[in-house]
Structures are given as structure tokens and as C-alpha cells.
């Protein structure tokens, strides 16, 4: 795979041989997807389910369980593993330490969790995690917001107060101020992912201080930020899912997580024997994150072709590591 690089891979030769010869054709590869939420949530879980459906269309033998509570996750995952599924995908942070713990019991099967590897455990060679590169993504959005801005500032509304959100907020501000001279970058970390009113308030505060482009890194709080910002005439950038519908004429683009792509790609790795576990998979930014505006990538009413080209240039530099956010 030319578009991704593996990092911290500690693959044992034995596992490589076992997994490499396990199956070579799609039809022989069985893939199970375990979802903590509903396949109809229109966001995080729905994306992964779409990937699974695409695999089914490609001839994979697939199965899924949705709405699995945290207490039931071990039994459901072990159920699939015991059934002999070649690949068990756990979609979310809930699967982080579980896969590190149980994958050793199933050395001939592969496990993939769409979250970062747990820091305090050694990762078995048949468990794989993914690095979403949130800080790099935030840097890209900071640059895009700056390029879209006609005013004196841009802002980001953060969700839960954790190191990831803080890192993203700093990277956004850093990128915005580095991209356009004299532009001010604001960040408000609300401390809550599920409070639309807080998001609206945070967006209004930054707009009151001159911001004319608002991005967010929160779920429901972010929706509040988009609605608040767009109702005051500011431009917005969506996050995690394709959010054009929330503010069609103010939305520049949405940076949506490519969960469908991740699921499909790892299944194909297992099918062709190139699956390498034991650490984190670090896909290219352009693979993990897709700028989407309806059926296209960006809103041509708000972003000119020239501006988009400038953004893509910065995006590529961040992806290659030429630009590295300080935060």
C-alpha cells in the first residue's frame, strides 16, 4: 500500500506467515464488525457499517453486531473470534485494551480497533490500531479556515477537555496564524461533547471578537457551534461526518472520518495477507480524513479553486511531515 506507512510495527515472522497464508481471496475472508452504537446514527457507526456493506458487495463474508454495551463487548468479540472470523473489527475507543488482552488467544485471526493503541500494554502481533493524526488534521483545518477568512480572526470550538482536544485547538490556532499574517486564531474548549448550547455560545463569543470562520472538534457541541455561527453569517467547517445539511450555504467543507475506508482497507490487508499488527497503522491524512461537501469536496461559492489549491499544498506538507504542528 503506497499511501500509508506503518509505525512501531513489531511483527513476528511466525505471525506474518500465519496471517499471510490464512486467506488470499475475498470470498474466503470473514469479517466481523462490532459497533458500540447504532448502524443508523448517521455518523461514526454508520460509516463503518457502510464499509462493511461495501466489503459484502466485494464478496467478503461479513457479520456485525450493533448497540453492544461496554459490558457485553468482551463476550461479543470472543463470540466472533471463537466462530473463527478472520478479522474482528472493534469500532471505537472501547476496544483499545480489550484487543491487546485477548488477541493472543487467537493467534491465527486478526483484530483491528479504530482507536489508538493503549499506552501501557504490549500489542500482540495480530492486533492493529489506527492513528487518526488528529493534530495534523487540526493544523490543516486551521490553514483552511485562515484561507477562507476575509476578517481578522478564525476560531475553533473544542469538545471534551482532554489532551487530544487541547492539542487540536493549539494546532488550529498555530496553523491559522502561520497561514495568514496578522490573522488571530481563537480556541474555546467547552469541556463537553454533547452540549449544543455551549457550542453556540462559544461560537458567538469568537464571532463577537471578529472571527468569521468557525470549525469544531466536538459532536453535539459542534453542531451547536455550526448552527450558532451560521445564523450569525460566519462561515463554518464541519467535522467527523459530512455536515453540509446543517448550514448548506455557510459550510465550506466537512472533514469527515473515513471509517468506511478504514474498515475496507484492513479487510483487504487480511485477505491478501499483507496485514501487519503489533502497533499503530498510520494512514495518510487524505485517507483517514475526507473533505466532503455533498457529492463534491468543497463549496465553490465560499472557496475558490485557487484557495483550495493552496490548502491542498499545506495539507500535503502536513501529511508528509514537512510541516509539523508544534503542539
Amino acid at each position: 500500500m503506497s499511501y500509508f506507512k506503518t509505525s512501531k510495527v513489531m511483527l513476528s515472522t511466525a505471525a506474518a506467515l500465519m496471517l499471510g497464508t490464512a486467506s488470499t481471496a475475498n470470498a474466503e475472508t470473514t469479517v466481523a464488525l462490532v459497533l458500540p452504537g447504532s448502524i443508523a446514527d448517521g455518523g461514526w457507526n454508520a460509516g463503518a457499517y457502510q464499509g462493511l456493506q461495501a466489503l459484502k458487495a466485494d464478496g467478503f463474508d461479513v457479520a456485525f453486531s450493533e448497540n453492544v454495551s461496554q459490558a457485553d463487548i468482551p463476550a461479543v468479540v470472543q463470540g466472533y473470534a471463537d466462530d473463527g472470523y478472520d478479522l474482528v473489527i472493534g469500532h471505537g475507543y472501547q476496544f483499545g485494551s480489550l484487543f491487546a488482552e485477548i488477541s493472543e488467544e487467537y493467534p491465527e485471526q486478526a483484530f483491528f480497533a479504530t482507536t489508538s493503541a493503549p499506552g501501557n500494554t504490549e500489542i500482540p502481533s495480530n492486533a492493529l490500531y489506527v492513528e487518526f493524526r488528529y493534530t495534523d488534521a487540526a493544523y490543516g483545518m486551521g490553514a483552511l479556515a485562515a484561507l477562507m477568512s476575509d476578517g481578522k480572526a478564525v476560531g475553533v470550538v473544542g469538545g471534551g477537555d482532554n489532551p487530544t482536544t487541547q492539542g487540536m485547538a493549539k494546532a488550529f490556532v498555530e496553523a491559522a496564524e502561520a497561514t495568514k499574517d496578522g490573522l488571530k486564531g481563537y480556541a474555546i474548549v467547552t469541556g463537553d461533547y454533547n452540549d449544543a448550547a455551549k457550542g453556540r455560545e462559544a461560537a458567538s463569543t469568537m464571532i463577537g471578537n471578529g472571527a468569521d470562520v468557525i470549525w469544531h472538534t466536538a459532536d453535539i457541541t459542534g453542531i451547536g457551534a455550526i448552527e450558532g455561527a451560521s445564523s450569525q453569517g460566519a462561515k463554518v467547517i464541519g467535522m467527523f461526518a459530512e455536515q453540509t445539511e446543517l448550514a448548506p450555504s455557510e459550510m465550506g467543507t466537512s472533514l469527515s472520518a473515513n471509517n468506511a475506508g478504514l474498515v475496507q482497507e484492513v479487510a483487504k490487508m487480511v485477505a491478501d495477507g499483507s496485514f501487519e499488527g503489533g502497533g499503530m497503522w498510520e494512514p495518510a491524512l487524505g485517507f483517514s480524513w475526507l473533505p466532503l461537501y455533498g457529492d463534491t469536496t468543497y463549496n465553490t461559492d465560499l472557496i475558490s479553486e485557487d484557495t483550495w489549491a493552496k490548502f491542498l499544498e499545506i495539507w500535503a506538507k502536513v501529511d508528509s511531515g514537512e510541516i509539523e504542528p508544534a503542539s
Binding site: 456485525f64 454495551s69 457485553d72 483499545g96
Partner: protein
């Protein structure tokens, strides 16, 4: 054509009639549930085949069924003791969580640097189960005391105390007991502290044997001992029991302690046999479903054990059915709930018969 319910002269009590009605209820539940499969183009036949096959006719699946049935049985046995003594206790969910918390507390003390770190693993497990049972007993005992001493409503107090237990566990796993750099849960207990698996190729752990043993003990106590007789008499009619010289308050206190102890033990067993760590959402309604299995089992020990295994099978098989058919999880839950509801409804047919009659023209 219309139908009505007519009271039977003598209720049906034979085992065969109960089995026949239960099978009928399950079949009707499945048929009704099968209709919901149709919009999803899933085959009810294949679905139910995987449900029954996985839950009862595969070694591994049946192991899971018994694992799921273990805490249900123990809560069911607790329900029998409490309810037959006239103590309508609904706080098993809380007792189970408190027992799980107590068991985990001992297990964490046996980790490196803990006060029990040099204790033999088997002894640690024994202490943990005993401590879990003790805390569960005290938790229910508190409700019993409030009812007996102050005339408090045990239903309300127990339900409110369930919330206390839920939030206490949430606090512990998100706060002081949280494993560093991970989700809200405690560290996983080392393998030598797990209850041993008793059948190879399955996850059936030794806790199942504890559940069976507790069932035998409860049966002996309730059916063969003076204490059991007095508890049942207290439940049937407290006034006449008092008149007969039975100390109803003491028997109800004892019933509360036994019921809570069983649920607490079930919680500790769930930690050492299944999860091997304390986590939020651990009980997931087990404390209530256990009451349902006792009701389905007509408040008898063997009946409750069978109902728990059937419910466990329904749960394990339901998961397998969802995997097999790809149906939304809500449909599987509706099928499960329909079967349980219809099983409970068959109670009416023991005392009543359905009479069909033609409409008469006047």
C-alpha cells in the same frame, strides 16, 4: 366467533401441562417475532435455527448459556427467599454491583504491592467471593432494617439504592480505581485470580458450580428446615405467623441478608469468572431479569434454574441470531421480550381456559 376466559374448576398443576404451555408460548412468540424479520429479507427459519443451535446444541454456545444463567439463577434464588418471606425486594441490581465492587476490592488488594499480594490465589478468590456476598447481604440488610424497624417501603428504598450502587461503581471506575490511560474500568485481574474454566473449549467457569450449590442449600433451607418454614409462613400471612409464635421480623431480616448475599456473590462471581475487572454497566439489568426468571420458574428452585438457563440461552442465541441474519439488534430484543411475556402470560391458562363461542343472534 368470539372467545372468553373461563375459570377452571381445578388449576392445571401437572408438569406436562406446564411444559406444553411453555413450549406453545415460545412457538407463538417466535412466530410473532418472525413477522418482523420479513421487511429485512431475513429468514426466520435460519434465524431461529442459529438461536437454538448456538444456545443449546453447540458445546461452546451452551457454555456461554450457562455462564449467562449463573448470576440469573443466584438472583432468582434470592428472589425466592425474599419474596416468599413477604419481603418484596427489587434491589438485586444494587446488591450485585456492590458484591462485584467488594470482590474487585479484594482482587486489587492482591495485585503487586497490595496487602494480599503474598496470599495464595485460591484464598484470594475465596475471600473475594465471601466479601462480595457479605457486602451484598449488608446492602439488602439495610433495606430490610429500614422496612422492619421504621416501616419503610422496601420497593422504593431498594430501587433508590440501586441508583446509589450504580453511581458508586461509576465513581470508582472513573476515579480512584481507574486503570491509568484507559477507559473507565479497573485493571484486569491476573489470570491466576480468575475462576477456573470447568469444561475445556468453553468459558464455563467454576462460579456455575457455586450457583448450583447455592440452589441446593436454599432448597434445603426453604423446604426442609424450620427457618424455611417460618420464612414461608411469615410471607403467607405475617399476622397468623406471629400468632403461631414465629418472629416474623427476624425471619424477614434473615431473608433480606440471604437474598442480598446471593446477589452479592453473583456479582463477585461475575468479576472473577467473566469480566475479570470492574467496569461501568456491568450488571446490565441482571438484577431485574433474575426476578423474572424466579417468576417464570413459579418461585421454585428447579423451575428458576431451568428458567435462568432458558433465558441465558435466549440471550446467547439472540446474539448468534443477530450475527447470522444481520437483523437490527432491536428486532432480536423484541423477539426475546415477546417470548418472555407470553411465557409469563401462560400463568393465566393454568387457572383459566379459553372458550370459543359463536355469536348468538337475538
Amino acid at each position: 366467533m368470539r372467545f372468553s376466559l373461563e375459570k377452571r374448576d381445578t388449576p392445571l398443576v401437572s408438569g406436562w401441562s406446564i411444559v406444553a404451555m411453555s413450549v406453545l408460548a415460545v412457538l407463538i412468540g417466535m412466530a410473532l417475532g418472525g413477522i418482523l424479520f420479513l421487511p429485512f429479507e431475513a429468514s426466520p427459519w435460519e434465524g431461529y435455527q442459529s438461536l437454538i443451535g448456538n444456545a443449546f446444541f453447540s458445546k461452546r454456545g451452551f457454555g456461554y448459556t450457562l455462564v449467562t444463567a449463573t448470576p440469573l439463577m443466584m438472583v432468582g434464588f434470592g428472589t425466592i427467599v425474599a419474596w416468599r418471606c413477604g419481603f418484596i425486594f427489587l434491589g438485586f441490581e444494587g446488591c450485585l454491583l456492590i458484591g462485584a465492587m467488594g470482590g474487585t476490592m479484594v482482587g486489587l488488594g492482591a495485585l503487586e504491592g497490595g496487602i494480599l499480594s503474598s496470599t495464595a490465589p485460591a484464598l484470594v478468590i475465596a475471600i473475594a467471593l465471601a466479601w462480595g456476598a457479605t457486602l451484598g447481604a449488608l446492602w439488602a440488610g439495610l433495606v430490610g432494617e429500614l422496612k422492619i424497624r421504621f416501616g419503610g417501603n422496601e420497593v422504593l428504598i431498594a430501587l433508590m439504592m440501586n441508583f446509589l450502587a450504580i453511581y458508586l461503581v461509576q465513581y470508582l471506575v472513573a476515579g480512584p480505581w481507574r486503570v491509568v490511560g484507559d477507559m473507565p474500568q479497573t485493571e484486569r485481574l491476573p489470570k491466576d485470580l480468575w475462576l477456573p474454566y470447568i469444561v475445556s473449549g468453553t468459558r464455563l467457569h467454576a462460579g456455575f458450580l457455586v450457583a448450583i450449590a447455592s440452589g441446593v442449600v436454599i432448597w434445603v433451607v426453604m423446604a426442609k428446615s424450620r427457618a424455611g418454614f417460618e420464612m414461608i409462613a411469615s410471607g403467607l400471612n405475617p399476622r397468623s405467623a406471629r400468632y403461631g409464635g414465629i418472629q416474623v421480623a427476624i425471619r424477614q431480616r434473615q431473608a433480606a441478608l440471604i437474598a442480598g448475599g446471593l446477589a452479592g456473590l453473583a456479582g463477585a462471581i461475575t468479576i472473577y469468572g467473566v469480566h475479570h475487572r470492574l467496569l461501568d454497566g456491568l450488571s446490565d439489568g441482571t438484577g431485574f431479569v433474575g426476578i423474572v426468571t424466579a417468576l417464570l420458574g413459579r418461585m421454585s428452585i428447579p423451575g428458576t434454574a431451568i428458567a435462568s438457563v432458558l433465558y441465558g440461552g435466549l440471550s446467547v442465541g439472540g446474539d448468534a441470531m443477530q450475527r447470522q441474519t444481520g437483523l437490527p439488534s432491536s428486532i432480536v430484543l423484541i423477539v426475546q421480550a415477546s417470548i418472555v411475556l407470553l411465557l409469563l402470560a401462560t400463568e393465566v391458562l393454568r387457572t383459566h381456559r379459553i372458550v370459543f363461542s359463536r355469536k348468538k343472534k337475538i
